[in-house]
Every structure is written in structure tokens, then in C-alpha cells.
């Protein structure tokens, strides 16, 4: 089967003297959950940003959902099918209320308002967030914010989830809740995390970014 996401010798540099990523090759198959580890500043977040076209590679080729993606219009489709969970949820949740934030993506997909309302309540229900509709996003706890942010992605019914440190800053209980939620989801995932125990439970395989290059990281988990 053709992989959902495929990097071919992808490189990226802000400054050509100091490349952030070089010759990165990897594939993400449907349903596969891959952990991505590496030191601070090793380019993990950059790799996620490249996947959805927030940054453009300076070398190589990115293929997503069966097509090579290069321009902004190509990536619009990728973004609608691959949900990126940001490290800081305050960056992601920008609408006043939870319901509006979850509805934002589906409305951008052009769905009718009534349909969107159904999606919002179904998505919140499925994450155990029923009754959160009119809560104000910035007054939620850290764990609730993370789950709501996840709900905003799931409402778009993506095929792939790109998770940037999904457990960072959460206490044990909240981490467990996020973990259990993610374990139940069918989507393929690329999970950036420093939490080895978290990745051991969630990921099928692992990659490690070392000096801008991807290498197998199973032994590290």
C-alpha cells in the first residue's frame, strides 16, 4: 500500500551553513504510529512543519496522500487531512469557546452549520468532553486544553495526526487520559516526545533525529 506521508531526501536550512535537516527519508503508513525523538533543537518540530507545508524544504521531495506536494495550494489539502497538534495549546485554541474552536476546521472544509454542530458534539462526546461546548478556551486546565486541541483536529476527520509533545506540561492523570484517548484512535500518527514511557506505550516504531539526520530509534525507547 502506498504510504500516507513520504519524505525523499528532504533537507531544510534557514542558513545554508547550518542545515537543520539533511537527507531525511521516512514513510508513514496508514494506521502506523511512529515516535520521533531527538535532542532539543534537533529539528523535530521543523519536520512536522515541513509535513504540512508551514515550511518548505530546501532539498528533496515530500509526497503526501499519493501526490508530490510543493506549493501552498497542494498543502492546503494536506492540512485538511493531516492534523497538527501544537506544542503550546494557547497557540492552537484561539476561538472564544470550545464549540467554536472545534467548529472552525469543519467550517473551513465548507460543511453546513447543522452538520458541523453534529460533528462538534460527536467529537467532544468521543473524547469525554461532553458539556464543554460553551466553556471559554483560555480558562480550561492544561489537560482539558490538550484534549480540546485534539478535538479540533479530530473534528476534521484526518487520516494522519502529527503530535508535537502531546504530553508535555501535563500531570500524570492528564497524561494518562491523553494517552488512553490516543491509543483508541485509528489514525496514523507521528509523535514527537521526550517521554520514553509515553512513546513505548503508544508508538509501533521510532525514529531519532541526530544532527539533522533521521535514524532508526527503536533501541532508544
Amino acid at each position: 500500500m502506498e504510504p500516507l506521508i513520504q519524505f525523499n531526501e528532504v533537507g531544510f536550512a534557514y542558513d545554508p551553513q547550518r542545515p537543520v535537516l539533511a537527507d531525511c527519508d521516512f514513510q508513514l503508513q496508514a494506521g502506523q504510529r511512529v515516535g520521533l525523538i531527538g535532542a532539543n533543537g534537533s529539528g523535530k518540530t521543523t519536520l512536522l512543519a515541513l509535513t504540512v507545508g508551514l515550511l518548505k524544504p530546501t532539498a528533496g521531495r515530500i509526497k503526501a496522500f499519493g501526490r508530490v506536494r510543493s506549493c501552498e495550494a497542494d498543502f492546503h489539502e494536506v492540512r485538511c487531512r493531516a492534523g497538527l497538534l501544537f506544542q503550546d495549546t494557547d497557540d492552537q485554541l484561539f476561538c472564544p469557546t470550545v464549540a467554536e474552536d472545534v467548529a472552525f476546521g469543519p467550517l473551513n472544509l465548507g460543511l453546513a452549520r447543522r452538520e458541523v454542530e453534529r460533528i462538534v458534539s460527536r467529537t467532544l462526546d468521543s473524547l469525554g468532553l461532553a458539556g464543554y461546548e460553551s466553556r471559554v478556551t483560555y480558562r480550561l486546565s492544561g489537560g482539558e486544553k490538550r484534549l480540546v486541541a485534539l478535538a479540533t483536529l479530530l473534528a476534521m476527520n484526518p487520516d494522519v495526526l502529527l503530535l508535537d509533545e502531546p504530553a508535555t506540561g501535563l500531570d500524570e492523570q492528564a497524561t494518562e487520559r491523553v494517552l488512553e484517548t490516543l491509543e483508541r484512535l485509528p489514525q496514523a500518527m507521528l509523535i514527537v516526545s521526550h517521554d520514553r514511557a509515553f512513546l513505548r506505550r503508544l508508538a509501533h516504531s521510532a525514529l531519532r533525529l541526530n544532527r539533522g539526520r533521521l535514524e532508526p530509534g527503536e533501541g532508544q525507547l
Binding site: F86, P96, R139
Partner: protein, 270 residues
């Protein structure tokens, strides 16, 4: 808001004024009026009062707003506290303005005259200011920013303005917390504000850092929106409904405004 607060809390600085307690509004809240009607009434009242010149009109407007605010159950102390900043400004106006307006002298100090025309002008401004602020307190003071934003959007104000308002509401507290963290970081290294170069320079760094971080955050928020398929159109929450209460409110507001206009034209101009 009610969750336990961290030591780097910024609440005491009141960066985001907490919405006035529902209880303060009492009977007025119970009507559950359409915020659009309230906005329109507030604008119309403000325009009429701002344009009116007659003392009778202005006094009537002020008395009406005072009665309305008190009968709706706003505590007097809260109302006075809200009016205090405006009136300290108006006091300065009463002290200064009459010296600069020509007219019958009340006092004379060398070449300067304190004119009765000037005093009358200052008094008018004071009446107008207080009446308008009280009406805004009554009509809009209890709306939270989000509802106000929605109401304005449905009154067809430009999208960009609405977005600015809503994003400001959303991120004011985040920026306030960031400011608080930076301040704490400064204090833990022994910083105390004094009147010297070091203080000014440090404040410069603080504000600069806040700006840089805000820009970064704005970029990340923009990216997050793009990631969810944003292409420039913004969809706001459900439509507001205009109920029977609102119709009565509209009738009452129109009656009050027409009454004021009547006083202005027929009573005052005679």
C-alpha cells in the same frame, strides 16, 4: 479563573478587567436582551446626549440614567468607582476650561478671566460625560467581550475590526501571563524599579521581549489556523435572536430618546 493560581499570577494587576458580577446587573440581566439592541440603544443614546445642548435635556438624561442604573441593582459604590476616573478628568476641565473661553467674567486674575460661558460649557461636558458613561455601564457593562464581538459582527461592522476585538480578548490574558512571568524572572534576580538608567533599560528589554514573543505567537497562531484549513473567512457562533422582550426594550429606548429630543427642541430652544 477559579483554578488555583500560581505564584507568578498576574491577576492582581487587573490586566483583563474581570466581567462585572452578574448579580450587579440584577433585574436588567433577567430580561436577557439581545446584545444588538443594547449596542444600538447605547450608540443612539450617546449620540443624542453628545449632540444636545440644553441643560434641561442633559439633566434629564443624567437623572434617567442614574435612576435606571440604581433601579437595576448596581451597587452605588461600584457605580461611583466606575465614574471616578472620568470625573477626575472633568474636574480638571472645570478648573481650566473657563479661563480659555471668552465671556462674562466671574473672576479676574490679571489678564486672565474665568468666564461664566466657560463654566457653563464645562458643566455641559460634565453632564454629558456622566450620562453617557452611565448609559454604557447600564447597557454594555455586563456584556462579556465575546458577546459584544458577536453582536457587533451581526451589526455588520467590518470583519477585521471584529477579529481584532476577539483576538485581543482571547490573547490579552496569555500576554498578561507572559508579562507576569518575565516580571517574576526579573524580580527573582533582584530587580527593583528605581529611577535610573538600568531600570529604563530593563523595562525596554521587557517590553521588547514581550513584543517579540507576541509576534512569534501571532505567527504560530496563524500557522495553527492555516493547519485547519483557514483561508481568510471567519465563522462566528450562532445567530442572536430578537425576542419580545427586545421589542419592548426597543420601544422603551425609542420613547426615552424621543423624549430627550422633544425636550431639546421644544423646551430648551424657547
Amino acid at each position: 479563573m477559579s483554578r488555583s493560581r500560581r505564584w507568578c499570577d498576574t491577576r492582581d494587576r487587573a490586566i483583563l478587567p474581570s466581567p462585572p458580577a452578574e448579580k450587579a446587573e440584577g433585574r436588567f440581566a433577567a430580561l436577557r436582551l439581545d446584545p444588538r439592541g443594547r449596542v444600538l440603544a447605547a450608540v443612539a443614546f450617546s449620540v443624542v446626549v453628545a449632540v444636545a445642548n440644553g441643560f434641561a435635556t442633559l439633566a434629564a438624561a443624567l437623572v434617567l440614567t442614574i435612576l435606571a442604573v440604581l433601579s437595576c441593582g448596581w451597587p452605588v459604590a461600584v457605580v461611583l468607582r466606575r465614574l471616578a476616573p472620568l470625573n477626575s478628568l472633568l474636574l480638571a476641565l472645570v478648573a481650566i476650561l473657563p479661563w480659555t473661553v471668552a465671556g462674562d467674567p466671574l473672576w479676574q486674575a490679571g489678564p486672565l478671566t474665568y468666564s461664566s460661558e466657560g463654566l457653563r460649557l464645562a458643566a455641559r461636558i460634565a453632564l454629558k460625560g456622566n450620562a453617557i458613561v452611565l448609559s454604557l455601564l447600564l447597557l454594555l457593562g455586563s456584556l462579556d467581550g465575546i458577546t459584544l464581538g458577536r453582536a457587533l459582527a451581526q451589526l455588520r461592522l467590518p470583519d477585521k475590526l471584529i477579529h481584532l476585538l476577539l483576538f485581543t480578548i482571547r490573547y490579552l490574558e496569555v500576554l498578561g501571563r507572559e508579562y507576569g512571568r518575565l516580571r517574576v524572572a526579573m524580580r527573582t534576580r533582584g530587580f527593583r524599579a528605581r529611577f535610573n538608567r538600568h531600570t529604563w533599560r530593563s523595562y525596554g528589554h521587557l517590553i521588547g521581549m514581550l513584543l517579540v514573543r507576541s509576534l512569534d505567537r501571532a505567527e504560530r497562531i496563524g500557522a495553527a489556523m492555516k493547519c485547519r484549513g483557514f483561508r481568510g473567512r471567519f465563522y462566528l457562533g450562532e445567530r442572536l435572536v430578537f425576542s419580545q422582550h427586545d421589542a419592548w426594550f426597543a420601544v422603551a429606548a425609542t420613547a426615552v430618546l424621543l423624549g430627550l429630543v422633544f425636550v431639546e427642541w421644544f423646551v430648551w430652544s424657547r
